[in-house]
Amino acid sequence: MTVRKLIIGIEGELMGISVKQKVMTRITSIWCVVLVLLVLGHNVNADEKYSNGAIKPPEAKSGSAALDVNDTNELWWSRWDAFVRDPNDPNELLEAKWNAIVTVLQNKELDQELKKKIMDKIMGPVFDTGLMAKLALGRTHWPKLTAPQQKRFTELFVERLKNIYLDKITLYNNEKVLFKHAMQEKNSIHIPVVLISNDKEIAILFKFHKMDETGGSKMNEYWKIYDVEIEGVSVLLVYRAQFDDILNRGGVKELFFQLEKPPTQ
């Protein structure tokens, strides 16, 4: 009976005859057509998408064999740095770090918490968190905070960023990542990265600046990220818009209240 109704529905559509059918029947009939077509399309797509090898997981260049799961001391993760040929080349630094991250993510023996810990250690030093916190408030608001407040703000801001970033990176599912040529700006270097997620390209831009001092023994800490843009949206500017709004409404007290409460779910 239902099948009959569906057929009448489709025929009615095609022949332009006004058949008074119930709305639900019509939607269902369209659905049937779509489903049939998608079953047909399924095979076509599967063949084309995966035969030419366009979407392949990126290969981790760094030898994953060297990974000792139980060795949680800081020695083994720092070996990734050995794969950076020229630490003053931010492109190379970023790629090496990324490959390290991928290797960690693809390691099935590590649990989530340990993965996050390791990734934080690999990527953490690349970010100039102090500058990021400062820039998120900007010239208008940063000087208004007292020194202890600045310290507290930086802690809270960084903690929030870190948690979110580490949560998200664990969602990585073998998306293809293409590193583009670095672009020299005035005193910074921008590295465009294209991430292909669900067969869509997403443009990410890492903005590096050169630190004045080498910062300890590790040369690769020379270049640090101060902002990230995703599809042209600067992460810092999105935060700045929020902090501006909060500070203009409720002042510093409100800012800390908002930052200290757990993120909205």
């Binding site: 800081e74 100039d128 968190t129 102090g130 998200k168 390209e201 902002d227």
Partner: protein
Amino acid sequence: MRYYFLIMIWLVAGAGCASSARNTPNLPAASPVDVNSSGDAAFDEFETELSQRQVTIPDPIEPWNRAMFGVNDIFYFWVAKPVVQTYEKIVPRPARVCIRNFFENLTTPVRFVNCLLQGKGPEADRELRRFGINTTAGVLGFGDPAYDRWGLKPAAEDLGQTLAVYGLGDGFYVVWPLLGPSTLRDSVGTVGDSFLNPVRYVKPQEVSIGISVVDATNKGSFHIGEYESFKAASVDPYVAMRGAYIQYRKKQIRGEDQPIDPNSGKPEAIWPHGVL
């Protein structure tokens, strides 16, 4: 469900904004508590850079917008999310990709006409090629060989951008129920574009709406959890969404499509083995 593309940007923030909060002994990196980790010179420079890039939008109807943001939030968690999650479980990913490709192919007129209106010849040409290839080799648009084989990307042009290119300002920020964030100008653009979408002309109207719902559900299935991430990342989700939306549109309007290859001076090929 328009804000799926905004939300998606937060998912890939995976590679972004990492930081080290603990000051481990082997880590000479700047610890977060060291507020003076960078010299003031760097702060001054990037402060100026950011201030120049900062875009704001008037929001005279903020109470309405916040209310609608709340409505959309509730709608997302109570209706859209359960529906999309169920759909995602039932329909396998390759099939969903096919449906998405099909609808994208169907809306080629929108992008093509807007490319022409903005005088973007190469982009219009690309859209035409994509349509030709995907409709034939891609079997009615269900596949996307134009991208997979030749790296031809769709040109993300719409009437809102065209009007902006013609000099029309943003107007002000509007949040529409179900459709999400927009501006006065972009709202006009969305309505205008809908006349170029073949789905609009499907009769009767209920079927047309039904198709749109399928399209939205299918698109949404690629972005489950992104809105949640976005909310978790923001301090005030409403302001964050407004800021992200206006920045995103600004970038689209500027239309910096591809980075320039420093060696050749030409736009860098996204797909190294591009043939067409």
